[in-house]
C-alpha cells in the first residue's frame, strides 16, 4: 500500500509507468480502514476550507429550494415515488418490463400483478407536478380496476365491475404503455442521435453541452455488438456534423461491453484485438470530425482490462496528440487514486491530455453481492457512502493539482450539492480555471443545481444523455436508477423543503471521522457472511494481484512430472493391490494425472471389519470433537487449494472457476456440517412425548456408512457425504468414482491429517462389481449415501434390501430433466446469459444443469437467435485456461452417449446452434455445446448428462400444462424461472414439484447452507445436502 498523500508531489507522476501500474491491482480489496486512513488527508479541508465548502453548499441548496422550477420531471417522480417505497419500486418494475411485453395476455397479467398490491391513493395530489399527479391518478384508477373482487372463476363479482372490466383491460394496457412512453421520453433524450441533438438545443442555449451514449444492455452476440458499433458510428457522424453552439462540443460516451460480446479478462486476447480494432475505428472517425470519445467505466473486474485497452488505444497513432480520448474512473473503487496517477503519468509520458470523468460509481450493490457470492476476501469498493465521497474529494484534489491539470482534463460528475460546491471551491483554491475542468450530470437529474451553477459561473456542464429506443433503453435506465438509490435519495432530500439543509452539507471527512470504524460494520466481509461459521474463500481470477500468485501455485502441479500415486487407504495404510489403473486427463488422453490401485474384495472386507470395530469409540466421542476435525479439514483443504485445483483440472477436466467452486463447496460442507453437529448432536433434545411426559432424545451414529460418490463433483460431493456421515458418529467406507479417485485419495489423507482416526475412515477406489457390490451387500452396512444415476440408486437400494437385515437409510441424489420457464416479461439478455450458463457450464455435467428451456412463443424469435449468437461466443478448450468456458466431458463412454444423442436430435429436432470445437479436440473427450428446438419435453426419455440444450416454445395460456408435463416426467431436481410477474413466479413455485427452484437467475451452483440442494421423485430421496435436516438422516434418535 503506497502513501496516498505522495500523489500531490509533482514528481510522483514522473515515476516509470510500470512502477505506478504495480500500485493499482494490490488495492483491489485493500483493507478499508488502512486505505481510508491514507486517503483522508487528501480530502481533509482546513478549517477555513471547511467553512467555505459548507457555506457554498448551503448557499447552493438554498437557491435551489427557492427556485420554483427546481425539479425535472424525473426528480419530481422520484420525490413522490421514492425508491425506498413499495410504490416507487413497483412503478419502476413496470417501467422496466412492460414495454417489451409483446402479447396482451401477459401484459395484462403483469399490470395486474404490479398495480394491485400498492397504496397508490396515498400519493394522489401530493406532487406539484402535473406529470406525477397524472401518473398517480392513472395508477390509482388502474390499481382499483385490477383489484376488483373476483368470483372463483375469475369473473368480476358484480355488475358494475363486470361493465368496467369489459372495457378496462385494453384501456388500462394502452394507458400504462402510454405512461411508460412518457417516462421513456423523460429518461431518454432522443430515440436516435438526430432527435437527441434536436431536443438538446434548449439546454445548449443555457450553456450546457452533451455527452451522448447509445446505451443499452451489454452485447451477448457479435450481431448485437455490430449494431451498437453502427449506432456509435452514426452518432459520431451526426455530432461531428452538428454545428449548433460550438462553444463546448458534444462528445460521445461508449460502453465497451456493448461493443464486444466477451469484454472480459478471460478473453483478453480478443479484447485487445477485436474490440481494440472496433474502438480504434470509432476513434479515427471521431478524430476526423473532432468529436471526443469517453470510455464508460463498468464492473470492478474489468478495470485492469479497460486500462490495458485504453493504453493501447491511447498510444496508437490514431489517438496520439488528439487529447479528446478519455475514460471514466469510479471513486468508489479502492483503486481509483492510483489509476488516476497512472493515467496522469501516461498522458505526461506521451505529452497529451486525457479527459477523465470522475464518477462515484453505479454498480456498488452488485459489487458487494458478487464478492459475497464468490467468497472474495474483501471488497473492491468502500462500504460507506461517505467513504466514497471522501475518495471522490481525494481524487479531485489530485486531479485539480497544478501538476496533474497539465495532463488530465477532469470532468466531475455528481448530483450532490455538497460535492459540487466543494469541487468548485477546491478548483478556485488550487488555481484551476474554468477552462481546465468541467462538471457533468445525468440527463433528467440535477437540473436545478447546475442551472444555478452555470448561471453564476462561466463553467462547462456536460449532460450525459442516453440515446436509443425507449423500449430498449428504459429497462436499462431503470435498473441503473434502482442500483443508484443513493443518488435518488439525495435528490429526494435536496428538494424536500422539510429536510434541514444542515443535514445535507456535512463534510464527508467529518462524517467518516465521526464513525467508530471507517469500514461499515453492518456489511460483513465475505469471509464473515455467516454468523456461526467461516465462509469459504475464493480467489478472484479477474484481478491480476489476486490471480497471478494463486495461479503460480497451481502451475506447480500442472506439469507432467507431477504424477499422483494413489491406493486404497484401509486403517491408514496405503494398500498396494496390484490392480493399477492410469488416470488420463479428459482434455488430452496422452497425458496422465497419476495412477491408482483399485481395491479388491479382501481390502473391502478388511475396511468394513475395521470400520465396524471403530464405531463404538468414534460414536462415543463428543460431537464437538468430531466437528473440530471437520473444521480442521476445511482449513487443510484451503491450505492445499492449489493442489486440489490442479487435480480438478487434470483428473476431472474442470475449468478454473469450476475448480474454485469445487474446493469452496467441499470446505463449506465441512464447516456447515461441523456447525450443524455442534447445534444438534452435542446435547440431547428435550421434548414432551405424546403421553405428556418429559423426555430427552439424542441423535447418534448408526454404524458403518457406505458413501458412493460421482465424478462430476469429485471433491465436493465426495467430501460432503463422508464428513456428514462421520460427524454424526458413523464410521465410513467410501467409494469414489473410478474416473476421479486421485482427488478422493488426497481428501482422505487430509481428513486423516485433520484428526479423523484412520480406523474410522477408509477409501476403497474401484468399480461397481469389485467394490460397489460388497459395499452394498454386506450386512454390517448401516446406511448409505449415494449420488449418481437413478438406475444405479435403484440397484443399490435393491441390493441393500435383500441382505436379510433391518432396512437402513438410503440417501440418494439422482438425475433430473431440469427445465427453465421463460415468459415474455423477462429480459432476453438475462435469460440468454443464465440459460447458456445453466446448460453449458461444466460441460453440462451438473445434476442441476438446464436440459429443457421453455420459451413463451411471443418472444422465442428474439431469444432463440440470441442463444445461437451467445453459443457462438463460447470457447471450448483446455480447462486450465482462463479463456475456456467449456471443458471436456469426463470420458469416452459419456462422450459417445452424448454424440449419439446429438445425432438422433439432428433428425428428431431442429438444430439451433453448435459451438465450435478446438483443433485439438480429438486428443480428449470433447462434446460441442449444442442446442436443438423440439416440440415437447416428451421427446426426451432420459437425462443426457452433458452440454446439450433442448428448447421448446409454449403458449402463455399453456403454462400450467407445461408445469404438469414437467411434473409428469417424474424427475424433480431443479427448475429455473424467468419472469417479472411475481404472481406467475409464485404460481410456478407452488405447482412445480422440484427440489430447487431458481427465479430470475441461473439454476446451477447451489451454495451449502444457503441453497440446500436435492431433488424429489426420481431425482432423489432427500434430505437436502447442505441443509439443516441432512445430518439427522445419518443418525438414529434414541431416548436417554
Amino acid at each position: 500500500m503506497f502513501k496516498a498523500i505522495d500523489v500531490l508531489q509533482p514528481e510522483f507522476i514522473q515515476k516509470p509507468l510500470n512502477e505506478l501500474w504495480t500500485l493499482i491491482s494490490p488495492l483491489y480489496k485493500a483493507d478499508e480502514e488502512s486505505w481510508l486512513k491514507e486517503l483522508l488527508p487528501l480530502a481533509k479541508p482546513t478549517e477555513q476550507q471547511l467553512a467555505d465548502h459548507t457555506n457554498a453548499a448551503s448557499d447552493l441548496i438554498a437557491k435551489v429550494r427557492k427556485d420554483d422550477d427546481n425539479m425535472s420531471m424525473i426528480d419530481a417522480l422520484l420525490l413522490e415515488y421514492s425508491l425506498d417505497t413499495k410504490e416507487g419500486i413497483l412503478l419502476m418494475c413496470l417501467a422496466e418490463a412492460l414495454m417489451r411485453v409483446p402479447d396482451k395476455e401477459t401484459a395484462d397479467a403483469f399490470i395486474k400483478d404490479r398495480l394491485s398490491v400498492a397504496d397508490w391513493a396515498s400519493h394522489a395530489k401530493n406532487s406539484d407536478s402535473f406529470f406525477v399527479n397524472a401518473s398517480t391518478w392513472g395508477l390509482l384508477l388502474t390499481g382499483k380496476i385490477v383489484t376488483m373482487d373476483e368470483n372463483q372463476d375469475g369473473t368480476p363479482a358484480n355488475l358494475v365491475n363486470r361493465m368496467v372490466n369489459r372495457v378496462s383491460e385494453p384501456v388500462i394496457r394502452k394507458a400504462m404503455n402510454q405512461a411508460m412512453k412518457i417516462m421513456g421520453h423523460q429518461f431518454v433524450l432522443g430515440r436516435d442521435i438526430k432527435e437527441a441533438l434536436s431536443r438538446g438545443k434548449g439546454y445548449r442555449d443555457k450553456g450546457y453541452t452533451y455527452s451522448f451514449d447509445m446505451l443499452g444492455e451489454a452485447a451477448l452476440t457479435a450481431e448485437d455488438a455490430d449494431k451498437y458499433l453502427h449506432s456509435y458510428e452514426q452518432a459520431v457522424e451526426s455530432v461531428g456534423k452538428d454545428t449548433y453552439n460550438q462553444k463546448h462540443r458534444p462528445t460521445i460516451s461508449i460502453k465497451l461491453s456493448a461493443l464486444h460480446p466477451r469484454y472480459e479478462i478471460g478473453c483478453e486476447e480478443r479484447v485487445m484485438t477485436e474490440l481494440s480494432e472496433s474502438v480504434k475505428g470509432l476513434i479515427t472517425k471521431a478524430r476526423e470530425l473532432n468529436v471526443g470519445i469517453t470510455i464508460d467505466a463498468e464492473e470492478a473486474d474489468r478495470l485492469e482490462l479497460s486500462l490495458n485497452l485504453f493504453e493501447k488505444l491511447y498510444r496508437d497513432e490514431a489517438t496520439r496528440g488528439w487529447g479528446l480520448f478519455g475514460l471514466v474512473v469510479q471513486a468508489y473503487s479502492k483503486r481509483a487514486l492510483p489509476v488516476l496517477a497512472w493515467l496522469a503519468a501516461l498522458a505526461k509520458e506521451q505529452g497529451d491530455r486525457i479527459p477523465i470523468r470522475l464518477v462515484k460509481g453505479a454498480y456498488w450493490d452488485s459489487e458487494i453481492k458478487l464478492c459475497q457470492q464468490r467468497g472474495i476476501n474483501g471488497y473492491p469498493v468502500y462500504t460507506r457512502k461517505e467513504s466514497t465521497d471522501v475518495s471522490y474529494l481525494a481524487c479531485a484534489n489530485f486531479l485539480l493539482s497544478e501538476h496533474t491539470r497539465a495532463n488530465i482534463f477532469p470532468q466531475f460528475a455528481s448530483h450532490n450539492a455538497h460535492t459540487i460546491a466543494t469541487i468548485h471551491c477546491l478548483a478556485k483554491q488550487l488555481g484551476a480555471t474554468s477552462e481546465e475542468f468541467e462538471f457533468q450530470r445525468l440527463h433528467g437529474m440535477g437540473d436545478a443545481l447546475y442551472n444555478h451553477l452555470i448561471k453564476e459561473n462561466d463553467i462547462c456542464v456536460r449532460i450525459y444523455a442516453p440515446v436509443g429506443s425507449h423500449k430498449d433503453l428504459l429497462p436499462y435506465l431503470v435498473r441503473r436508477l434502482l442500483e443508484n438509490g443513493a443518488n435518488s435519495s439525495f435528490v429526494h432530500r435536496l428538494i424536500d423543503a422539510s429536510y434541514p439543509i444542515a443535514d445535507l452539507i456535512d463534510h464527508p471527512v467529518t462524517t467518516l471521522e465521526s464513525r467508530k470504524s471507517l469500514a461499515n460494520p453492518h456489511i460483513n466481509l465475505p469471509a464473515n457472511l455467516f454468523d456461526d461459521r467461516k465462509n469459504s474463500f475464493g480467489p478472484n481470477i479477474e484481478i491480476a494481484s489476486e490471480w497471478t500468485p494463486f495461479k503460480a501455485k497451481i502451475d506447480a502441479f500442472m506439469e507432467q512430472d507431477t504424477q499422483w500415486r494413489a491406493f486404497p487407504i484401509v486403517g491408514g495404510e496405503k494398500v498396494a493391490t496390484g490392480h493399477t489403473h492410469s488416470i488420463l486427463s479428459p482434455y488430452d488422453h496422452s497425458q496422465a494425472a497419476g495412477q491408482i490401485d483399485w481395491a479388491d474384495t479382501e481390502t473391502v472386507s478388511k475396511a468394513i471389519d475395521l470400520a465396524e470395530a471403530a464405531f463404538p469409540a468414534w460414536s462415543a466421542r463428543p460431537a464437538t470433537e468430531r466437528a473440530d476435525c471437520l473444521d480442521r479439514a476445511a482449513d487443510l483443504m484451503e491450505e492445499n487449494y492449489a493442489e486440489l485445483m490442479a487435480l480438478c483440472h487434470r483428473e476431472a477436466g474442470k475449468t478454473i472457476q469450476d475448480s474454485i467452486d469445487e474446493v469452496r463447496e467441499a470446505v463449506d460442507f465441512c464447516r456447515y456440517y461441523a456447525q450443524q453437529a455442534r447445534s444438534h448432536f452435542a446435547t440431547p433434545t428435550s421434548y414432551i412425548d405424546f403421553l405428556g411426559q418429559g423426555k430427552q432424545a439424542q441423535l447418534k451414529g448408526r454404524g458403518v456408512f457406505t458413501c458412493i460418490s460421482p465424478w462430476n463433483f469429485p471433491l465436493a460431493i465426495f467430501a460432503g457425504q463422508v464428513v456428514a456421515a462421520l460427524v454424526v458418529g458413523n464410521t465410513v467406507v467410501a467409494k469414489p468414482a473410478e474416473q476421479t479417485s486421485l482427488i478422493a485419495f488426497r481428501a482422505i489423507e487430509l481428513l486423516h491429517q485433520a484428526g479423523i482416526p484412520t480406523d474410522v475412515l477408509h477409501l476403497l477406489p474401484g468399480d461397481g462389481a469389485t467394490v460397489g457390490a460388497p459395499l452394498t451387500s454386506d450386512k454390517r452396512i448401516a446406511g448409505l449415501a449415494f449420488t449418481g444415476s437413478t438406475g444405479t440408486a435403484q440397484l443399490i437400494n435393491r441390493t441393500l434390501a435383500v441382505r436379510g437385515v433391518a432396512p437402513v437409510p438410503v440417501i440418494a441424489e439422482t438425475g433430473g430433466q431440469n427445465a427453465m420457464l421463460v415468459d415474455s416479461t423477462s429480459l432476453p439478455e438475462q435469460v440468454v446469459r443464465d440459460a447458456v450458463r445453466s446448460a453449458f457450464a461444466s460441460a453440462g455435467q451438473r445434476c442441476s444443469a438446464l436440459r429443457v428451456l421453455f420459451i413463451q412463443e411471443d418472444i422465442a424469435d428474439r431469444v432463440i437467435p440470441m442463444i445461437k449468437g451467445a453459443m457462438q461466443e463460447q470457447a471450448v478448450g483446455l480447462p486450465y485456461l482462463h479463456s475456456t468456458d467449456v471443458g471436456p466431458v469426463i470420458d469416452k463412454k459419456a462422450q459417445k452417449m452424448l454424440l449419439d444423442h446429438i445425432e438422433y436430435m439432428k433428425t428428431a429436432g431442429k438444430l439451433i446452434a453448435q459451438t465450435a470445437l478446438p483443433e485439438f479436440a480429438d486428443k480428449g473427450t470433447y462434446v460441442a455445446p449444442t442446442a436443438f428446438e423440439i416440440d415437447s419435453i416428451d421427446q426426451l426419455t432420459d437425462e443426457k448428462f452433458g452440454p446439450i440444450l433442448h428448447v421448446v416454445r409454449y403458449k402463455a395460456r399453456d403454462l400450467n400444462k407445461i408445469i404438469d408435463t414437467i411434473n409428469n416426467s417424474g424427475f424433480g431436481l431443479t427448475l429455473g424461472v424467468h419472469s417479472r410477474n411475481e404472481t406467475t413466479c409464485a404460481n410456478i413455485a407452488s405447482r412445480a414439484r422440484v427440489g430447487n427452484l431458481y427465479i430470475n437467475r441461473d439454476q446451477v451452483g447451489a451454495v451449502v447452507g444457503v441453497q440446500p440442494f436435492g431433488g424429489q421423485g426420481l431425482s432423489g430421496t432427500g434430505p437436502k445436502a447442505g441443509g439443516p435436516h441432512y445430518l439427522q438422516r445419518f443418525a438414529i434418535e434414541q431416548d436417554l
Binding site: I89, M92, K369, L481, A793, L800, A801, G1014, P1023, D1039
Partner: protein, 227 residues
C-alpha cells in the same frame, strides 16, 4: 406398455397438490377437527404429531446468505402414502393413527387398509377434501404396494415384515419408495420422536434473485445505516 395405476393412487395424486398447498397450519386446522372422534391415546398421538409438525416444518426458513438474493427452505409432502399396521393391538392402532396423522400433516394424501384403516378414514374424511384419505380392502394391498407412484409406506410391523416390505418396495421401478417402519409397536419408540416427521417430507429451496430488475434495497439500507 401403459401401466394402469390403481384408482386410489390416481385419486391421491389428483388431490395431492391441493392438499400440499394448504400448508401445515391449514392442514392442522382441518385435522384437529377430526381429533374428537379418536380415543384418548390415539388423540394424544395425533395431536402430538400435528404439534410437532407445527414446530418443525410449518415455517418457511429463510436461509442466510449474500445480500441481493432470497433463499427459502420449506417442506412439501412426498406424494401418496400407504399407512398400514401389520400388528394387531391397541397400541399398534395408536401407532397407526400416529403414522396417518404424520403423513397427512406433512402434506401427503393417505391410503389406509382394511377395517382398522376404514375406522381411521371415517373419522378424518369429513374434515378433508375427498381423496385426501382413502381406504382399500386388504385384498387390494398388493397392487397398491406395487404401484409406481406410491411415495411411501408408513407401517407398524415386526422386523421380518419390515425386511420383506423393504425388499418389495426396492424391487419396484420408479422413485425410491420410502419405508417408514415402527417395529416397536408397544413403546412406539421411533415414530413419536421429533425428527421422525422429516422422513415424510421432501424439501424445496426457492432462490430468488431479488436484484434482477436492479437495486438492492437491503444493502442500500445497510450502506447508509448509522453506527
Amino acid at each position: 406398455m401403459t401401466i394402469v395405476q390403481p384408482i386410489q393412487i390416481q385419486v391421491a395424486q389428483a388431490v395431492f397438490e391441493a392438499w400440499d398447498k394448504i400448508g401445515v397450519t391449514g392442514r392442522a386446522e382441518k385435522l384437529e377437527k377430526a381429533l374428537v372422534a379418536f380415543s384418548d391415546e390415539q388423540r394424544n398421538m395425533a395431536q402430538w404429531q400435528i404439534d410437532n409438525a407445527k414446530r418443525e416444518i410449518a415455517e418457511t426458513r429463510v436461509m442466510p446468505g449474500p445480500t441481493g438474493e432470497r433463499n427459502e427452505l420449506s417442506s412439501q409432502g412426498r406424494g401418496p402414502f400407504l399407512c398400514i399396521s401389520l400388528v394387531e393391538s391397541d397400541k399398534a392402532n395408536v401407532g397407526l393413527v400416529g403414522q396417518v396423522f404424520t403423513a397427512l400433516i406433512a402434506g401427503n394424501p393417505v391410503i389406509t387398509v382394511g377395517q382398522v384403516g376404514q375406522d381411521i378414514m371415517d373419522k378424518i374424511m369429513p374434515y378433508v377434501a375427498e381423496g385426501v384419505i382413502q381406504n382399500i380392502a386388504d385384498s387390494a394391498l398388493d397392487s397398491l404396494i406395487e404401484a409406481d407412484h406410491l411415495a411411501g409406506v408408513a407401517t407398524l410391523c415386526d422386523d421380518t415384515q419390515a425386511q420383506q416390505l423393504s425388499q418389495r418396495l426396492a424391487a419396484k421401478g420408479g422413485l425410491i419408495c420410502q419405508l417408514i417402519e415402527e417395529t416397536d409397536s408397544e413403546q412406539l419408540s421411533t415414530i413419536a420422536k421429533p425428527h421422525n416427521l422429516l422422513r415424510f417430507v421432501t424439501e424445496r429451496t426457492v432462490s430468488n434473485n431479488t436484484t434482477a430488475i436492479g437495486g438492492n434495497a437491503t444493502l442500500l439500507e445497510l450502506g447508509s445505516m448509522d453506527d
